[in-house]
């Protein structure tokens, strides 16, 4: 089994707010992230796939295809967007780094053919990242 990781970057804005919480609760739990006008990050994404090396091509996965899927399913949807307002799943789910990692997994999972998705890692800043393994 060989693991292959592809990196990508996207920039987006978001804010944290749960309509079921009172304004006071929202401020207490989410702090500065509750500002309704949003704030942004340069996210770094690492997508790790695993599989056996194809004896003919020498590939675990065709990187060109992986890049196309990543661009189409993830980056086109998230890059330079206000996540709460423009990305459907975040209308009902708070766009935390945890939920972004889950969303990226869900967007990629069923579209990969040969290789199997192993891990999605999303860096919100260099000092904060989330890993999701599909569990």
């Amino acid at each position: 089994m060989v693991y292959l990781t592809r990196k990508a970057e996207f920039s987006a804005s978001h804010y944290y707010h749960n309509p079921q919480f009172s304004p006071e609760e929202n401020r207490r739990i989410f702090g500065k992230c509750n500002n309704p006008n949003g704030h942004g990050h340069n996210y770094t994404l690492e997508v790790t796939v695993k599989g056996d090396v194809d004896p003919r091509s020498g590939f675990v996965v065709d990187l060109k295809q992986l890049k196309e899927i990543l661009n189409r399913e993830v980056l086109d949807a998230l890059d330079h967007r206000f996540l709460n307002k423009e990305v459907p799943e975040f209308a009902t789910r708070i766009p935390t780094t945890e939920n972004i990692a889950i969303s990226v997994w869900q967007r990629l999972h069923s579209r990969l053919e040969r290789a199997q998705l192993h891990r999605v890692r999303v860096y919100e800043t260099p000092d904060l990242f989330v890993d999701y393994y599909g569990e």
Partner: protein
Amino acid sequence: MKAHLTRRYWFSASHRLHSESMSPEENRRTYGKCNNPHGHGHNYALEVTVSGPVDQATGMVCNLVDLDEFVRGHILERFGHENLNMLAAFRQRVPTTENLCREIFEILQRGFTTAHLEKVRLEETMMNSFEYAGDAEVRK
């Protein structure tokens, strides 16, 4: 759905690698420059990984404010700008980064109960790092 959240912190400390159970010659041979009796220091980068189900109401594994507060109070203030050899934790143990990594894991495991502690990773320099996950395997 279960996610793993990793937060990175920094602290600087000094240490000297020296074992009372070795002769001076053996200490020099084993630890090389790190055996210098005056000690030396590092900028340590600490990564703490916690895991758990993502709370539907907050979208979080745990609130970062709680993790930051615990790490600041119990780890960064305890080790930052200290000579590790002078601390109680290293009276009997050589303050290698292996032992420091384990010590930090144990402090977190005892005191931080908001989320499951998965792993501690400690970079001594940009060139070497250590990971400890207690009895569990380190997950990649």
